[in-house]
Amino acid sequence: MISFHQVNKHYGNFHVLKDINLHINQGEVVVIIGPSGSGKSTLVRCINRLETITSGELIVDNVKVNDKNTDINKLRRNIGMVFQHFNLYPHKTVLQNITLAPIKVLGISEKEAKETAMYYLEKVGIPDKANAYPSELSGGQQQRVAIARGLAMNPKIMLFDEPTSALDPETIGEVLDVMKKLTKEGMTMVVVTHEMGFAREVADRIVFMDQGRILEEAPPEEFFANPREERARLFLSRILNH
């Protein structure tokens, strides 16, 4: 579903992604962890071309992401993205946030878009907030709207970049619960997170990054019990004992 072949990326002189090779199958849940500045966000943002790669090849849903002839807007329909800071549209209601892309991009009717939106709002547990503005919601509620907004496009892949890092501890759980539900439904997911409990529970694979490289890739049981890399061990001990 997602394939990185020898992908490199530079910001000017700064080599942010180094020889990335990563293959993610349909329905797989991959959790990316690593220290701050290791390139996790950059890696995820390459998948829907929010960042462009410098060399190598990246194929998503059988499409070369960085090919000149690729219709990026068409590819992006199939890839939902959830950000650390939600990025809801503050001038639109919850319902309008969710229906905008289905109406404007997929061209479905407003009525149908609303029904779909309500379906996903039910799913994330806040149908009663349909007509609220984002600023009237808690962080956890906003993030659940953002997830519903992504799902309403009926994507094949969902990307999450630290979806709970900006949340109060009490609301982290409600967002993780929604994400867990998604993994059970077979959604292909790439998740950057520091929530090790979540990673252990739902990930099919853990990818550990440091300084722009993928240092280790393993199923969670294996990775958490016995990380091969010294730096992964160090990272885990710091994050688990903070």
Binding site: K74, R76, M81, Y89, H91, A101, V105, Y133, A146
Partner: protein, 217 residues
């Protein structure tokens, strides 16, 4: 004491001038807002030649006096074989000139919208232009309402430039009435009052909008 018989005797002329000033202001307001938005988007769109064009427009136009921009339309266009009456030439000049300032105001507004808004919208498959239209501009407009209001007030006052090329506006008729009556002070005080009739409500309206938008977020 002001001689109010002037305003009574010359009411028709004042009204004609007032009408043209309103018309020129409204047309220039709409036109400069449209051109200003386009130029602002040109300046920040991820397309180099458009950036250059937008920057050239702004730097060129806002750094020459308004009257010269108007002269381009009034004297320059006829030389190219395009004849414009003085009202049209003046209004066009005013539009093109004000657009440069509005473009800068709007650009600042667009840049003040958080980057995540563009990213969220683009990653949902919206095109750059759709994102501008549905997500970025509506938020930018709210931010720029106060400075935009100032530009519109300037625009109304600047429309007096039409008087210089006999553009049938308030200023033009003020000059006319003054040369017929040999009165200057009173005549122009009445002209000023007509401008105030336009600019004060505009100013209050902007304040009202600002408060309403602040509430609706």
């Amino acid at each position: 004491m002001l001689d109010f018989s002037i305003i009574v005797d010359y009411w028709d002329m004042y009204m004609q001038g007032f009408g043209h000033t309103v018309k020129a202001s409204l047309l220039a307001l709409l036109g400069s807002l449209l051109i200003g938005i386009v130029i602002a988007v040109f300046r920040i769109a991820p397309v180099r030649p458009l950036n250059w064009f937008g920057a050239a427009y702004v730097e060129f136009i806002r750094n020459i006096p308004l009257i010269l921009v108007v002269f381009v339309f009034f004297f320059g266009f006829p030389a190219l074989g395009v004849r414009l009456d003085s009202f049209t030439a003046g209004t066009l000049g005013l539009t093109v000139y004000t657009a440069a300032f509005i473009a800068e105001v709007i650009r600042a507004g667009i840049l003040s919208v958080p980057k995540g808004q563009m990213e969220a919208a683009r990653s949902s498959g919206l095109t750059y232009l759709q994102t501008m239209r549905y997500i970025i501009l509506p938020q930018a407009i709210k931010i720029v309402i106060p400075p935009l209001g100032n530009q519109f007030i300037n625009l109304v006052k600047n429309s007096s430039i039409l008087g210089v090329i006999a553009g049938l506006d308030l200023m033009y008729f003020g000059d006319l009435i003054s040369s017929e009556t040999f009165v200057t002070f009173d005549v122009y005080i009445f002209v000023a009052m007509f401008y105030l009739v336009l600019t004060v409500p505009l100013s209050l309206g902007v304040g009202f909008l600002e408060r309403r938008l602040a509430r609706s977020r």
